[in-house]
């Protein structure tokens, strides 16, 4: 067989009759076949189409690459999301068995006050059946008249109330700058002494917001949040996702674009540590994310390190709260 004939076939220019003849030749001996395979290989390796690669790049490739990468990114995110969900699910399962520094007590004393240590939480059941969950660093008190029907309590700090219904005896919570009159309800109050704001969120029922002189400013409906600023004396009522304000009871904390310095203040309370941020820019950085408060602080710090620009250094100090630098 002439080489020219074989190459004519390989180049796709042979007629069906010629192809038949070539195949017969190829199958007639192993040398022929080997010869053909070598020629075909040489031809294939030196082949080149006449496409305009630039056009293909512009019209097809750019789009395909980005679509593929987005898909891959989506897949990665989905995977991470699944891991995070699993993490929280496990956390929820365990928290029922391993409540971190939390104790349930029933309070019958007539005069009562409780201080929740830093880094701990506390559950109370009052004589009328009202339950109170106190967040760390809170002070809670009521007077001897409680059992006699004067349902007035004092709060510094943060608490979640589920107030027992009793139409004849109003339930009142006094904080440093606002009082709250309760009409059978559950709500969350944040009123720490060292923060300028009182922040209260109503989950269920109805809640009156009162000045220290007893004048009712407004009455909240479920889902509403009232924020009072000591400096500006401004009272702001808005609709919120109540979970964000009450999730601390479950040990789950969502920060919604909060400044790192505000988060640091909260963490100081939860973990009884001192956090120093020397870089003002970092202190003002906004953070969005959810953490499990019941986890050890080194895990939480790792989460912050991975999800924000902060780095940290831990300095244990004997007899004093551990010092943590955020930088």
């Amino acid at each position: 067989m002439e080489y020219a004939q074989i190459i004519k076939y390989i180049a796709g220019e042979a007629s069906e009759e010629e192809v038949r003849a070539i195949f017969q030749w190829i199958e007639s001996s192993s040398d022929n076949k080997e010869e053909f395979v070598k020629l075909k290989k040489a031809y294939a390796l030196t082949s080149k189409s006449a496409d305009n690669a630039q056009h293909v790049w512009n019209d097809v490739m750019i789009r395909r690459i980005h679509r593929k990468e987005n898909l891959r990114r989506l897949y990665t995110y989905t995977r991470y999301a699944a891991i995070i969900v699993l993490f929280f699910a496990l956390g929820m399962v365990f928290q029922n068995q391993l409540r971190f520094g939390k104790s349930a007590e029933t309070v019958y004393a007539s005069n009562m006050s409780i201080d929740v240590p830093l880094g701990q939480m506390s559950d109370l059941t009052l004589p009328d059946g009202t339950t109170v969950q106190l967040n760390s660093g809170s002070h809670f008190a009521y007077t001897g008249n409680f059992a006699a029907g004067d349902r007035t309590v004092e709060l510094q700090g943060e608490a979640f109330f589920e107030v027992a219904k009793d139409a004849n005896h109003p339930f009142t919570v006094k904080t440093k700058s606002l009082d709250f009159k309760v009409y059978g309800t559950s709500f969350n109050i944040q009123a720490y002494e060292d923060e300028k704001e009182v922040n209260t969120t109503l989950v269920e029922g109805s809640l009156g917001v009162l000045s220290k002189t007893g004048k009712e400013f407004t009455r909240l409906v479920p889902g509403e949040n009232v924020k009072y600023n000591d400096d500006s004396k401004e009272l702001v009522v808005k609709n919120v996702n109540t979970d964000l304000y009450t999730s601390w009871q479950k040990g789950l904390i969502t920060f919604r674009n909060e400044k790192l310095q505000d988060i640091a203040k909260k963490m100081e309370r939860w973990y009884n540590v001192e956090i120093k941020i020397e870089d003002q820019e970092l202190a003002d950085e906004l953070y969005f994310g959810t953490i499990m408060k019941n986890k050890p602080i080194d895990q939480i710090l790792e989460v912050f390190r991975m999800t924000s620009s902060l780095q940290y250094r831990i300095l244990p100090r004997p007899g004093e709260p551990t010092l943590i630098y955020w930088e």
């Binding site: 190459i7 069906e16 293909v56 395909r64 690459i65």
Partner: protein, 203 residues
């Protein structure tokens, strides 16, 4: 496929590895047509060949962290093209060029054998490429000119004949001669397994 390795390749390779899209664009433009041409040799369908080649490049980009050397790029692309073509032939998606279906089946079998005989392992591949490159450069001047114009510039035999002021017959003869030389050199790279297989069929 034939490009001389250079410092530029090395530079492009590093840029490509680090995820630089314009480096990838350069690589795409350098290797796209050879890969399409390669596929088209086995599946005789230009659109399908183009689509397989594009798939090869997308996979190259997604796997760039695994590519070890500039040569690994072509090795990856040709390996991908090879298995895509084999897959395509095996699933008999090739539209028959011939009225006689038996011829089509034989061609599919032959093409699979040729594809199977390729080893695009990075080391083997660079040796093979080097061999082809050297073989072409060692061809007699006229023969080389004709071959390059035909295979790499995609010129028709008639155009080459006019350009070089030789007969079309002479163009054909030179291409044949060049391919014959190349195929002899490539013979060294025919794996022993294939030879045995062929012997088995013959006996």
């Amino acid at each position: 496929m034939l490009t001389e390795p250079s410092a530029l390749d090395e530079f492009l390779f590093l840029q490509f590895k680090s995820g630089n899209e314009s480096a990838f664009e350069q690589l795409f433009k350098a290797h796209y047509n050879p890969i399409v041409g390669f596929c088209n040799q086995f599946i005789s369908d230009h659109d399908k060949s183009a689509s397989l080649a594009q798939e090869a490049f997308i996979n190259l980009w997604m796997n760039r962290s695994k590519i070890q050397s500039p040569n690994g790029i072509k090795s990856f692309l040709y390996t991908f093209a090879k298995s895509s073509c084999l897959n395509f032939i095996r699933h008999q998606k090739v539209v028959s060029k011939y009225e006689d279906r038996h011829l089509q089946a034989m061609e599919g079998k032959l093409n699979s054998e040729v594809l199977d005989s390729f080893d695009f392992d990075a080391l083997e591949f660079s040796e093979m490429e080097e061999l082809i490159y050297r073989s072409i450069s060692e061809l007699p001047e006229k023969c080389r000119q004709v071959f390059m114009a035909s295979r790499f510039e995609g010129k028709k035999n008639k155009e080459i004949a006019d350009e070089l002021q030789i007969s079309v017959k002479s163009v054909e003869a030179n291409i044949t001669r060049a391919l014959k030389t190349l195929s002899v050199k490539l013979g060294e790279y025919l794996p022993a397994v294939l030879v045995q297989m062929i012997m088995h069929y013959m006996s």
